[in-house]
């Protein structure tokens, strides 16, 4: 059966897209303002966002919005992100995926194993960021031992998350053409779906 290449395959509904972009915008804000406070060399970023005191006041709220948005994403996607046996094989051979040699890679479902790992990694790091962020938010009322822990956990988790998101943004824009439209407008072409997420495409084509 030839693919009807002009068809629009729904990939993400509005709720998923809204949550994703709320998370993305708030994350970028929190990341850039956070980096300003992480290194004197990046303190110029604080001026871009209204000055040091403004950044200190609003950065935590960026984190709160991010946590809420990620919470929505988590409740929508956690079930679909479970890793199965195929995913483990995929991860073992992921170096092939990186060089566009997909021999031996199991067919991906709605999300491939790399995407699932990003999801779990970001969720875990977000939890650490949120807990340590609360401690740093009100130093006056927090026990010293907690503050000492939070002051290193928060930037460590943040840098891990930012590293992950750099790769994720690259994947979502330059590396995988047309994925961006899927997250923006909500649909993809059949050829894209069949090539990137064959198992998912076959499942939804059956109905």
């Amino acid at each position: 059966m030839p693919l009807e290449t002009d068809r629009k395959i729904p990939r993400f509904d509005f709720g998923e897209r809204a949550a994703h972009w709320m998370a993305a915008i708030s994350f970028l804000y929190a990341a850039l303002t956070g980096l300003a406070l992480w290194s004197h060399k990046l303190y110029w970023l604080a001026f871009v966002f209204g000055g040091g005191a403004t950044v200190r006041g609003w950065h935590p709220w960026g984190g709160v919005v991010f946590a809420l948005a990620l919470g929505v994403m988590f409740s929508r996607w956690a079930r679909q992100m479970r890793l199965d046996a195929d995913d483990r094989t995929w991860l073992r051979l992921s170096h092939r995926y990186m060089v566009h040699d997909e021999s031996g890679l199991p067919e991906a479902g709605r999300f491939n194993a790399g995407q699932k790992m990003l999801f779990w990694m970001q969720s875990a790091l977000a939890l650490l960021l949120f807990a340590s962020g609360l401690v740093l938010w009100w130093p006056e009322i927090m026990p010293r031992a907690l503050r000492l822990l939070a002051i290193v956990v928060h930037p460590a988790a943040a840098l891990g998350a930012i590293g992950g998101i750099i790769v994720h943004i690259y994947m979502g824009t330059a590396a995988v053409p047309e994925a961006f439209r899927g997250m923006m407008q909500g649909w993809v072409r059949p050829g894209w779906a069949l090539s990137h997420h064959p198992r998912w495409f076959k499942e939804i084509s059956r109905h």
Binding site: R56, M98, V99, E140, I151, A174, P177
Partner: protein, 262 residues
């Protein structure tokens, strides 16, 4: 420029609290009424508008009770944990004479210095959302005056001057005390923070905790990790991530599929 210091000879403190008042007056602080704590101490703790506290540490002795009166304020460390932790360039400065000063025009109120300080000194003001502490009267010392607390001390318990000289003076005073039978007398000048520009003579230097002074204060481990290895790891993550993805594209390009739109 010469490093300056304040010497506190705890054996000479009579607990008159004149230095507390002089500090409040010179720095134009409003006094916040507290609740009576059942001690002779003015306040239970330092506050954003109370930078200098005489602690009336009570101690049981054979004959009854004694006070180990200890002046408590910023130590003006040679390696200040507050400065290491501060994210805002210029908000905490170490002057060439060794004074560690807070510049409130640049302070952003994050409170990291509170966590970085091994002596638990800086305090956040709920009103201004900025952090305050003793400046060793940098505004007075800059024009050749001694700090307000020193100026007012009636017993010479407090002296101010060149650090080298005061350190020598402290050592000889400790020796005098040892000769007088206080075998444990010594100078408090903790090396974990590179030494401090506030020096103490203690009757028992083996047990500074009795005075409310930490025994071996150091830059907290997590602060050292955060400002040390994590800086490098983080830089590697950021630069590696950006360059890595960029050159992945240059080498391998996008992942395409058959029939992809132009």
């Amino acid at each position: 420029m010469q490093t300056v210091a304040k010497l506190i000879d705890t054996t000479l403190c009579i607990g008159c609290k004149a230095c507390e008042l002089a500090c409040q007056e010179w720095n134009d602080q409003e006094f916040t009424l507290g609740v009576f704590q059942g001690t002779y101490q003015t306040m239970p703790d330092l506050a954003h508008n109370f930078w200098n506290l005489i602690k009336f540490n009570e101690r049981e002795t054979a004959g009854g009770m004694s006070w180990l009166m200890t002046k408590y304020q910023c130590m003006h460390c040679a390696d200040p944990g507050c400065l290491r932790a501060c994210p805002a360039p210029g908000a905490i400065v170490q002057l060439r004479n060794g004074i560690v000063d807070f510049n409130h025009d640049h302070c952003i109120g994050c409170g990291y210095c509170i966590t970085g300080c091994p002596f638990d000194v800086p305090r956040l003001s709920p009103a201004t959302k900025k952090v305050y502490k003793c400046s060793l009267c940098s505004d007075r010392t800059a024009v050749g005056l001694s700090p307000a607390c020193i100026k007012t001390c009636p017993t010479n318990c407090l002296t101010f001057g060149a650090r080298d000289e005061l350190l020598r003076k402290a050592e000889s005073r400790a020796e005098q005390l040892r000769a007088d039978g206080h075998a444990q007398a010594g100078v408090y000048n903790p090396q974990g923070v590179g030494g401090t520009n506030v020096l103490y003579v203690l009757k028992d230097a083996t047990e500074p905790e009795a005075h409310g002074l930490p025994k071996d204060p150091t830059i907290p481990l997590s602060v050292a990790l955060w400002k040390g290895p994590l800086k490098w790891l983080g830089t590697l993550t950021l630069v590696g991530g950006i360059l890595g993805t960029f050159f992945h594209y240059v080498r391998f390009g996008p992942r395409t599929y058959e029939g992809q739109e132009k």
